[in-house]
């Protein structure tokens, strides 16, 4: 059967003239008022935006009080947002209850994390150096927080708090969770039914619980189930809950990557006489993780957002520390500004993470396309 088409090309119709070149502004304007409906929509949205944005701008910027050692300045007639609360409380928000004269240690940790993140973001260094650097940064952060050696005063985990604690929780979750996730994913795809059943049951159960339930299990019940001589720090217990929860989700992402791998890859490696572990390390995992990376990055970003759950357990991550800072009766009325600051902080970090994830994804696609040629 021949392909029939209603269009008859080349029947003598005059070629359409090339569209006139138009400026950027003119193009945007044309798209804003493409049709009467679109034009009306533009006008309505613009009206609402102006009606909302102007008072908001006045409150947040024009009438705002930026610096006031005394909250009375914020109470003045017509005063807008009281950002002074951030200036006043920034030490508590950023470092929690960490001893005041030792807070430089927290500042060093934050600088290390942000610095190494910025330095490795362009991916100029080899992967091993980047990962090794993160391990060093993590260990140095732990030493700086704990103290007790190198002449640093020891600080108990009950005093840890703020942004350094948030970073440590996040780093520990990803570092502990990823290997567990790979193990669970491999186990779930195992030929051995006992292993695959146990892994599947574990993953599905944990995924069926809210994170809060997992954290409560780890923080409240775990000590009951361990012998009394084995006591685990509360922070560490909560961290175990975070790791387990993250691993259950990440395992599904890794499993997706494993499933996307054509059987031929593993069969070819087997035919070459490679052992199971060698196949895993050289053939299966590098490809599976590359495929799973977008999904994994979503889980990693969620792990960062989930660090806030520690505040419900009474630990002082950034949110918990902010909550504590805003208990001050002088500043309690400016809670909104305090939480907006935390909101902005998380927004910046999560946006950075998600941009980084997208750039890795683009890189991978480019490499795959090159490999396909």
């Amino acid at each position: 059967m021949s392909v029939t088409s209603f269009a008859t090309p080349g029947t003598g119709a005059a070629p359409r003239p090339a569209p006139e070149a138009e400026g950027r502004a003119a193009g945007t304007l044309r798209r804003l008022f493409r049709s009467p409906l679109s034009g009306a929509l533009t006008l309505v949205i613009a009206l609402v935006l102006v009606a909302v944005a102007w008072p908001l701008l006045r409150w947040a910027v024009i009438d705002a009080v930026w610096y006031a050692p005394d909250p009375a300045a914020c109470r003045a007639e017509g005063a807008g947002a009281c950002w002074a609360v951030i200036v006043e409380k920034h030490r508590v928000i950023l470092f929690g209850a960490f001893p005041y004269e030792q807070q430089w240690r927290g500042a060093v940790i934050v600088a290390l994390w942000l610095g190494w993140a910025l330095l490795t973001a362009p991916r100029l260094l080899p992967l091993a150096v980047r990962l090794g650097g993160w391990v060093v940064v993590f260990l140095v952060s732990l030493v700086l927080m704990r103290g007790g050696i190198l002449g640093l005063a020891p600080v108990g985990t009950d005093l840890w708090g703020g942004l350094p604690l948030t970073f440590l929780i996040f780093g520990g979750t990803v570092a502990g969770g990823l290997p567990l996730a790979v193990a669970l994913a491999l186990g779930r795809r195992s030929d051995w039914p006992v292993i695959s059943f146990l892994c599947a049951a574990f993953v599905e159960c944990v995924r069926g619980f809210p994170l809060l339930v997992v954290l409560f299990f780890a923080a409240l019940i775990l000590p009951l189930f361990l012998p009394p001589e084995l006591t685990i720090d509360k922070l560490l217990r909560a961290e175990i809950g975070m790791i387990v929860f993250f691993a259950a989700y990440a395992a599904e992402a890794v499993r997706g990557g494993l499933q996307a791998l054509p059987d031929g890859q593993e069969e070819a490696a087997k035919a070459l006489g490679m052992s199971y572990w060698l196949r895993l390390r050289k053939v299966v995992l590098p490809q599976a993780i590359a495929v799973a990376l977008p999904a994994l990055f979503n889980d990693i970003i969620r792990a960062f957002k989930n660090t806030t759950f520690f505040s419900i357990l009474g630990l002082f991550d950034v949110l918990g520390a902010t909550k504590a800072a805003l208990q001050d009766p002088d500043w309690v009325r400016y809670g909104l500004e305090g939480y907006l600051f935390v909101f902005l902080l998380y927004f910046l970090i999560c946006t950075g993470l998600s941009l980084y994830g997208r750039s890795i994804e683009r890189d991978n696609l480019r490499r795959l396309r090159r490999a396909g040629e």
Partner: protein, 394 residues
């Protein structure tokens, strides 16, 4: 008939035998280790409970609970049993989740379609919304909304919204129908009718339509099924029509219904956060429809509205269901964050119950099982629905 040998059936427990004796030994060892770990943990817990002189068991569920709960869809006062406290918590969680799901789906659908709009202002606004709410922790959003409402001016300086609704530090006071129980029944009857009409529609479509006898009665029948039951309930209840509109008195409002800051915080936090994810799913679903189909539809002269309704939406709908169900499950699980603002959902109710009863393990296990059951049942319903709406295999 020539006899055909039945296909060779794999030997029983074939999977268990795979890999030879070495594999079997390894698996036995793992199984034994897991069981030993379980026994060891339980033995430890037993010893710990005995050392503290605590008893275990679920009998406490029927004892009177010495606490009362904040306001939710259902309320609980002290003296009732722990079991009914957990029931109230579960009811609040389910109602809160349902209301938030509907809100999140509506906002998400509109935002997702708007993000693809050719109007740059609408698309930019939608993208901004998605980025802002996706890239911040849900708990921060919930705490933000809670602070926002509790720091509102007192009732006498309330923000008036067109003089029918008022926002103050007591929450949001809105007009409400007088007879709310009947209205709830009407709504349930409406849902039942909708389900019935859907099922009958599926059954009817199984048989190919007879071209000689076109089904002319389907339209009226669907209308009757969907609108009949709620109308009957409403008429049966005596046609309640009264609405109470709040009015600002000297210190407080009279009339209307007040939504507490706790409810608003968790409701906004759940709805707006999940809506951003649903918007991304909707956007992906719409984009998954082959561009050639839209072009073809445009070529045969369908209007943009009909293209969306007849070509894009039905196909996007099928793609969207599985990830949407995952978001619903995530919404239900995250409704446990109500504990952060003191909304009496299942989690915070259990939290209170375990403080008062001292039965940490029992309460946590019961609560975890309920959450697991909720997640699993949403997954099952979504699977069933997914199978119903998929195009039959070709």
């Amino acid at each position: 008939m020539t006899d055909i040998a039945p296909p060779a059936r794999p030997p029983r427990f074939a999977r268990l035998r795979r890999g030879g004796p070495r594999a079997a030994l390894w698996q036995l060892a793992v199984l034994a280790a897991v069981i030993a770990l379980g026994v060891w943990l339980v033995a430890n817990a037993r010893a710990a409970l005995e050392a503290r002189g605590m008893t275990s068991g679920l009998d406490f569920l029927f004892a009177a609970a010495p606490f009362s709960l904040g306001e939710g869809f259902f309320s609980f006062s002290s003296g009732d049993s722990y079991l009914s406290a957990l029931g109230v918590g579960l009811g609040n969680t389910v109602m809160l989740s349902l209301v938030s799901m509907v809100t999140a789906t509506l906002i998400g659908a509109v935002t997702g379609v708007a993000a693809l709009s050719r109007n740059p202002l609408a698309a930019g606004l939608a993208r901004g919304y998605i980025d802002l709410f996706r890239n911040t922790p849900q708990l921060v959003q919930i705490v933000f909304w809670y602070t926002f409402f509790t720091l509102m001016p007192a009732a006498r300086d309330a923000w008036s919204i067109l003089d029918v609704a008022f926002a103050s530090n007591r929450g949001l006071t809105v007009p409400a129908p007088d007879d709310r129980e009947t209205l709830a029944l009407v709504f349930l009857a409406f849902c039942g009718g909708l389900l019935l009409a859907f099922l009958i529609g599926r059954l009817a479509r199984r048989r190919p339509a007879d071209p000689q006898r076109p089904r002319r009665w389907t339209g009226p029948l669907v209308a009757l099924l969907v609108l009949g039951p709620p109308l009957a309930v409403w008429l049966g209840a005596g046609v309640p029509l009264g609405w109470s509109v709040p009015a600002l008195g000297k210190f407080n409002f009279s009339g209307g219904a007040t939504l507490s800051p706790e409810f608003l915080a968790i409701y906004f936090g759940l709805s707006f956060y999940i809506a951003a994810f649903i918007a991304e799913i909707v956007r992906g679903g719409v984009q998954s429809v082959d561009a050639g189909q839209v072009e073809a539809a445009r070529t045969i002269g369908l209007s943009p509205g009909s293209i969306y309704r007849r070509i894009v939406a039905p196909q996007a709908f099928r793609v969207v269901i599985p990830p949407l169900a995952a978001q619903y499950v995530s919404l239900i699980k995250n409704s446990s964050l109500g504990v952060a603002v003191g909304y009496p959902d299942l989690f915070s109710t259990s939290n209170t119950a375990l403080t008062y009863s001292g039965r940490t393990i029992e309460v946590l296990v019961v609560m975890a099982c309920i959450y697991l059951a909720l997640s699993v049942s949403v997954g099952l319903v979504a699977n069933l629905f997914n199978r119903l709406v998929q195009i039959p295999g070709r």
